[in-house]
């Protein structure tokens, strides 16, 4: 093998370090959320009532299932089941698509009802509703961006696996791509109750 030197443990540690910065990024958003929840409990309660619990729950199921398919894909690759691994990753990317389509309908419906930061309806009142929905768009938007990037990373992993460059003995790239995807799931696990179940 004329492969360049690979530092498997180092690669993985590097990925985790990057994830730590992501955790602190979303941590900042959660901090804003908790402070404003304390200041505007009534408005946050009313805001949460306006979000569709059915949509939110469905998206939670979709995202957790997509985390399972990635975890299974890694096990499949490690066992040398390349075709199965590629199918599982396709399923993950398809689930990411379902999540984003849902998000699109959710956001469109909200914007259609005049709920967006700084809209005339939001600007009226104490400002608490404006902040709730401002945070809603900021946090689910930042999360949605991560879903899109995560799906692209998994697509890249699929290409490398298909090319035979990521294999049963050299699976670090897929493992790290999977770690990113699970982080996206982790963030949603907290976003979901805070926005949809707060009422």
């Amino acid at each position: 093998m004329s492969e360049a030197h690979k530092d498997y443990a180092g690669d993985k540690f590097g990925m985790w370090l990057f994830l730590f910065t992501e955790i602190l990024l979303f941590g900042g958003f959660f901090l804003l959320y908790s402070v404003y929840l304390h200041r505007y409990p009534v408005e946050f309660h009313e805001g949460g009532l306006q979000l569709s619990r059915v949509f939110g729950t469905f998206n939670t199921v979709v995202l957790i299932t997509s985390s399972l398919t990635v975890a299974l894909a890694i096990s499949a690759l490690q066992q040398g089941k390349k075709a199965l691994c590629l199918w599982l990753l396709s399923a993950t990317i398809a689930l990411a698509g379902v999540f984003m389509v849902n998000k699109f309908f959710e956001w469109s419906a909200k914007i259609g009802h005049g709920i967006y930061p700084g809209s005339p309806e939001m600007a009226a009142g104490s400002g608490g509703a404006n902040i709730f929905f401002g945070l809603y768009y900021l946090m689910t938007g930042a999360h949605g961006l991560h879903v899109v990037i995560g799906a692209a990373i998994l697509g890249f992993c699929m290409l490398r696996i298909w090319q035979g460059r990521v294999t049963a003995d050299n699976f670090g790239l897929l493992e790290n791509g999977g770690l990113y995807w699970h982080l996206v799931d982790l963030v949603w696990i907290f976003l979901f109750p805070l926005f949809y179940l707060i009422s």
Partner: protein, 98 residues
């Protein structure tokens, strides 16, 4: 380089997924009752349990070396200080004007 290869069985991963689904059901179910401030506490406890399952099994942390585990713990402790202490500050302040 040896790659530490710890293959998680499909059955285990699927069981973790099932538990996550049940917990999602629990958190949605609990939200339809009004326990006041306890609601937020219950929702956050369930979410943290789900997060631990994802981190330990889906993200393989249970099978990683202790150094990595210590770092992950450290990050969450820092996050808790960061959010917790700011929150104490905000909660203990007398009502600001406006």
């Amino acid at each position: 380089m040896t790659t530490q290869k710890h293959i998680l069985p499909f059955a285990l991963l699927t069981r973790i997924w099932l538990v996550l689904m049940v917990l999602t059901g629990v958190t949605v179910g609990v939200a339809s009752f009004d326990f006041g401030y306890l609601n937020v506490l219950v929702a956050m406890t369930v979410a943290s349990t789900k997060a631990l399952l994802v981190i330990f099994f889906f993200m393989h942390l249970k099978y990683e070396n202790r150094t990595l585990g210590a770092f992950v713990l450290l990050v969450f402790v820092i996050l808790a200080i960061f959010i917790g202490f700011t929150f104490f500050d905000v909660a203990m302040r007398p009502e600001a004007g406006s």
